[in-house]
């Protein structure tokens, strides 16, 4: 008798347990984690990732629950934060800065059941994908506009860190400018930071003092735009639409749009079809867009911006097509060859005509 009751109880408990877990599996939203290098209010890189995160929540109401950690320094701190996110039950974690690469891989090894998506990196494993926006397509268009706009034939570039993504974008900018203005020169200033409004201001002023009249930035704060507006030169925004910071100076903004990729990836994880890959999205996929082309631009510049954009979007023109030499005279891309994504990911040279040396 005793055993029978015990058995009954056990069965009842089991059924109840199953019922509970089945119910929770159906209702509990999937957890998705994000880690940003800057504050979500930077109006640049991190801001756009966070905007995509919010869009993602809207697109899958009740099905996912997102968490984000902002302002995380690249390095040891990142590893701690990513580990925390993984421990917190996130099924997929987006690590959104180049410097999160090694921390992401380290944590991914410890959590084989969690999926990681690392932005702008080049290392992948069975649970780590990489994804990147073809910012260089926007940069090329920016270069074309800058080449046409500059009167001093000197354009400026506020660079962050000497990594492939930045080299690639500087090269694309310069090639774009050179294609319309053979006399153009580019001045590059490295600030060794992704986000430091004060330093970016100093760099912008230093460039303008030296005759730069069209400026690009590879940093995330709108400070250079403000300087450009104040000192009456032109500037191209990056990552996010920053036209309202510089209504007169603004040429256009190269806008990142991560939402399509995030939605696709999260859905793939939900239905189990996710596979590690190296995703590149550009004009064609609407992952890179041109924001707010300024009305006060001369018509020929507006036209040039639009034609170049369309040519790249349709695939008719690829900026990194040979023959290309680096600035030491070595041939880096053979005639007729368009660089593959894997090659693009490893650019560490300045294109011919740039008067600067590559950091060793």
């Amino acid at each position: 008798m005793k055993t029978r009751i015990f058995r009954l109880l056990a069965v009842a408990a089991l059924t109840a347990g199953c019922a509970v877990s089945a119910a929770s599996a159906a209702e509990e939203p999937m957890k998705v984690g994000f880690i940003y290098v800057g504050p979500v209010g930077d109006h640049g890189w991190s801001y756009e990732h966070d905007r995509a995160r919010k869009e993602l929540e809207k697109a899958l109401p009740g099905q996912i629950k997102t968490t984000f950690v902002e302002n995380v320094a690249e390095g040891a701190d990142a590893e701690r934060v990513i580990t925390q996110l993984a421990k917190g039950g996130n099924k997929i974690i987006f690590t959104t800065s180049f410097g999160f690469m090694n921390p992401t891989l380290k944590v991914a090894k410890k959590f084989p059941n969690v999926i990681f998506e690392h932005a702008t990196g080049y290392k992948r494993t069975k649970n780590v994908s990489t994804y990147i926006q073809r910012a260089y397509e926007g940069r090329y268009v920016a270069g074309v506009a800058a080449g046409l706009l500059t009167k001093s034939n000197t354009i400026g570039y506020i660079a962050s860190f000497p990594i492939p993504e930045v080299y690639r974008d500087i090269d694309a900018t310069f090639m774009g400018a050179k294609s319309v203005n053979p006399n153009v020169k580019i001045k590059i200033v490295w600030v060794n930071s992704w986000y430091d409004p004060g330093k970016e201001t100093d760099a912008a002023n230093a460039l303008i003092d030296q005759g730069v009249d069209v400026m690009m930035q590879h940093t995330d704060s709108p400070a250079p735009m403000l300087v450009a507006e104040k000192r009456g030169i032109r500037a191209v925004g990056q990552a996010s639409d920053v036209s309202h910071f510089a209504p007169k100076a603004h040429v256009f903004s190269i806008v990142d749009n991560w939402e399509p990729h995030y939605l696709k990836t999260v859905q793939a994880v939900k239905d189990g079809s996710w596979k590690p890959q190296d995703y590149w999205g550009g004009f064609a996929e609407d992952v890179v867009k041109l924001g707010s082309i300024n009305d006060n631009l001369p018509q020929n510049v507006k036209d040039a911006i639009n034609t170049t954009y369309t040519k790249i979007k349709t695939g008719e023109f690829k900026p990194f097509t040979g023959p290309l030499k680096d600035n030491t005279g070595k041939e880096v891309v053979a005639a007729g060859h368009s660089m593959t994504d894997a090659e693009l990911a490893q650019i560490n040279w300045f294109v011919e005509g740039i008067d600067a040396t590559v950091a060793k």
Partner: protein
């Protein structure tokens, strides 16, 4: 290097050095009373955010500056109560103040990110501004830079020439002796702390209303820390402080300028120099004899308790 470029570099150095100068002035007075407040960065950020919000909502830059100073003073008052009345360790309290200020400023400023105000504009001082070179270098700045110069003169005069300055130093050198001869140690220290807070707030408002007229999280970018080093670097003397602030200013922009000019010197090396100098000073100051030579306040960082 031609004159135009030299002028631009020196002008930029003054602009970059001004926030450092303002914070460091406040911290120097504070340290002269024997109080080490490591909360400069936090107070600066609070000043920057409150100054920006006030200027943005009222449209008055002057109100913005006042609000910034008030915010800095409130923060320093908090530091004062904890480190003076509750006798907590000054270093720990200061660090906590910085962390608190960083977080709080980000919190209250979050809805103001991305807004801009028309910041302080350059004022050409009549006649003087027309002098070649000097005029452009010294007499066409914004209001806050002129204010910083007046403050330098006032602080320098106060510390060296007045009875008040003597009392301040007496309290910083030996609070027990000062107490024994009837000087109000805590009051003096409170006043010094409040002055430090007001100056940090002012420096913050320079950042958010003149230097980069907007509010961004963490926009002071470690300048509060540099200012702390600067005070040591200047060995607690006002005139060294001015020199040091502009030297740090030059150092922090020089690597950017040289890169633009295509120089092949490592920019990281140049950016490192002021810190290296500070480090050397710090090492020397470790010994008591050097401390005397550099005129460091002898009771710096020590909690004062009149009952002991």
């Amino acid at each position: 290097m031609d004159n135009v470029l030299l002028l631009q570099i020196l002008t930029a150095a003054i602009k970059t050095g001004t926030p450092l100068l303002l914070v460091a002035l406040g911290e120097m007075v504070c340290e002269k009373s024997g109080v080490l407040n490591l909360g400069q960065e936090g107070m600066m950020l609070m000043g920057a955010v409150c100054g920006f919000i006030a200027a943005f909502s009222t449209g008055s830059l002057l109100l913005g500056v006042l609000a910034a100073m008030a915010a800095g003073m409130l923060m320093s008052l908090l530091f004062g109560v904890i480190s003076m009345h509750l006798r907590a360790n000054q270093v720990a309290t200061g660090l906590a103040l910085t962390i608190f200020g960083t977080g709080l400023s980000a919190f209250i400023g979050s809805s103001y990110v991305g807004q801009t105000v028309k910041g302080f504009q350059g004022i050409q001082i009549p006649v003087l501004a027309d002098i070649p070179f000097i005029g452009k270098l010294l007499f066409s700045h914004d209001l806050l830079i002129y204010v910083s110069w007046v403050l330098v003169l006032v602080v320098g005069w106060f510390c060296v020439k007045t009875r008040g300055g003597l009392i301040l130093r007496a309290v910083g050198e030996n609070p027990h002796n000062a107490n024994a001869i009837g000087l109000p140690v805590l009051t003096v220290r409170y006043l010094a702390i409040l002055f430090g807070g007001a100056m940090a707030g002012l420096a913050g408002s320079y950042m958010s209303l003149a230097y980069t007229p907007m509010w961004m999280e963490n926009m002071t970018g470690g300048r509060g820390w540099i200012a702390l080093a600067l005070v040591v670097f200047a060995s607690w003397k006002t005139k060294n402080l001015v020199l040091g602030a502009y030297l740090f200013g030059i150092a922090s922009i020089m690597h950017l300028v040289l890169q633009g000019l295509g120089m092949k010197i490592s920019p990281s090396l140049l950016a490192m120099l002021p810190y290296l100098a500070t480090l050397i000073v710090m090492i020397f100051i470790g010994s008591n004899r050097m401390k005397e030579k550099l005129s460091a306040p002898m009771s710096l960082g020590q909690t004062f308790d009149s009952r002991v």
